[in-house]
Symmetry: C2
Subunit: 335 residues, 2 copies
Amino acid sequence: MTSGKKVPTIYDVAQLSGVSISTISRVLNNPDKVRLSTRIRVVEAIDELGFVPKAEARAHALQQTNRIGVITPFFTAPAFVQRLRGVASALSPANYELVIFTIDSIERLHGYLASLPLTRNLDGLIVISAQVEQSEATRLVEHGLQTVLIEYPHPQLNSVEINDFEGGRMVAEYLLHKGHRRIAFVGDTDMPEFGIDPINLRLGGFRQGLLDAGMRLPQELVHLVRYSQGQMQYRAGELLRQAKPPTAIFAATDFQAMAVIKIAKQIGMKIPDDLAVIGFDDLDLADYVDLTTVSQHLDESGSVAVEILLDSIEEPSQPPQHVTLPLSIIERTTA
Amino acid sequence: MTSGKKVPTIYDVAQLSGVSISTISRVLNNPDKVRLSTRIRVVEAIDELGFVPKAEARAHALQQTNRIGVITPFFTAPAFVQRLRGVASALSPANYELVIFTIDSIERLHGYLASLPLTRNLDGLIVISAQVEQSEATRLVEHGLQTVLIEYPHPQLNSVEINDFEGGRMVAEYLLHKGHRRIAFVGDTDMPEFGIDPINLRLGGFRQGLLDAGMRLPQELVHLVRYSQGQMQYRAGELLRQAKPPTAIFAATDFQAMAVIKIAKQIGMKIPDDLAVIGFDDLDLADYVDLTTVSQHLDESGSVAVEILLDSIEEPSQPPQHVTLPLSIIERTTA
DNA sequence: TTGAAAGCGCTAACAG
DNA sequence: CTGTTAGCGCTTTCAA
């Protein structure tokens, strides 16, 4: 019982149906190139034996795997699920398998980026929320592994991104429009090894948005803390308990918005009357907690990435595509 | 630029280092069976060419893929992420790749279960929260595809499960101990095609727990609704607005608990003083919203599944293992 | 329309 | 310790 039933190969089918293996292969891949009568005979033999082509053998001969890989920080980034969901749903009708490479450290990321283009067991690669270095990018293109980056673009590779700066600006505009004049920003600073920092871009855009309305964002109203629920809540507490608390808070992520709301309620503030809170991301749970937030269409980022990828697998010799997804404010009940 | 650089094969390495391909293969797989001096020479050649064995070719020759598959309902079951996380973290040190097969319909599930054992491109399979039929189970074992089921066990296949009935009982005990005497149950009934229904088991255990304390669970206090936030909230509203509302609610899942809390707050009830709410699952977000709930150790279910799987891949001829994970009540602030 | 045969790139006896 | 050789199971020219 170690291995089970004898698995039929194309040779068995050939023997049973009295033709050569090439013909079997043909009815599998180019049925119209086989005379109807023999095709029927072959199909019957296939059914009788319960034959199914072995994927590995096929991949080996074909030099392609029908498999695309996704490198993703499974553990740190809560938004990845929705992106992955977009990838999965776009991929399944395309008859590609989805291989997940989770990165829990920057070393793992580099490890995958080093080996994946070489082992040749992927037709394409999607990298979610992780930054690939120059050397890695060139290696990717040199070895012809089609890649699309989500969130952290690179000039030589396809990418789907958003305009974080613009997102921040939109929030400023929105809150201003709601009548707020004293608005705080909270965000985390937990991306030491990354160059571009979306949180800071959001902050920058936010600041600019205020400026456009003739307002400055005082330094005591911006709080950048290391990512951790406890830290966040502590700082939010400080922020809200001060003599002249803000009337609104822009949290750089939905999770932080939730932390803020939690602490605000503990203090006894009413949301959104005493304090308006707006997040960023539009995670699934934002809907559950009725959080007003800016949606960056996470699911869509995944499906768009797949489209681009399949496209450039078919047409490898085209310049990298960079698509920027729109942002939109989802107004719920917290701001 | 269509394909990029010429990819070196084992033959190139052999030629450059002046030995046969078998020797190359040996330094790759059994380094100690090669004389040090030639090994060094080979390694140098490998480095010079930047040679990396092609995974497909290796898999084809070896008849194994170093890949395990996970069939999971990506879209409907919110708990799957944590299970998957457990799988991923247990798998990555084991040097196995993780292939995800998402099921959005029962047909897809059957489709995968039909083809996966035959295409032979997986060394093992984990099925999360989906029920495999008898015929599928026997096909799996006949074809020797090692499998472990999470949540829905089957006698012929490995499984990791929990005792939903006992979980319900524990909740009854807990709430009773807290002094509650009028306790409602809310759950969803959204698994038409499945035989075993965890929600009903939880309800059964809960009912039994009350019975053990000499109490009956009146029918007007159990609410089974179709899964959807709106529906749930509507029913919860009815429940709470009645003349003699319950002092506590056991929600069969964390999501439902959140829906209940939301509506309760809208009505103006204080949690947990006016109404205690306890959930089931212990999703990540339960911690964020400080939900008291029964933890079924989702992450662990995944890692345990991997352990069992790797074990039975190594030792195929052993009887199926069925492990039941413990349950524990996580007391936070809602009950 | 079909068959023979040469790969695809690697592993693993079996000799030497 | 190393080379020869026969697979692994399929696809795809090239002839017939």
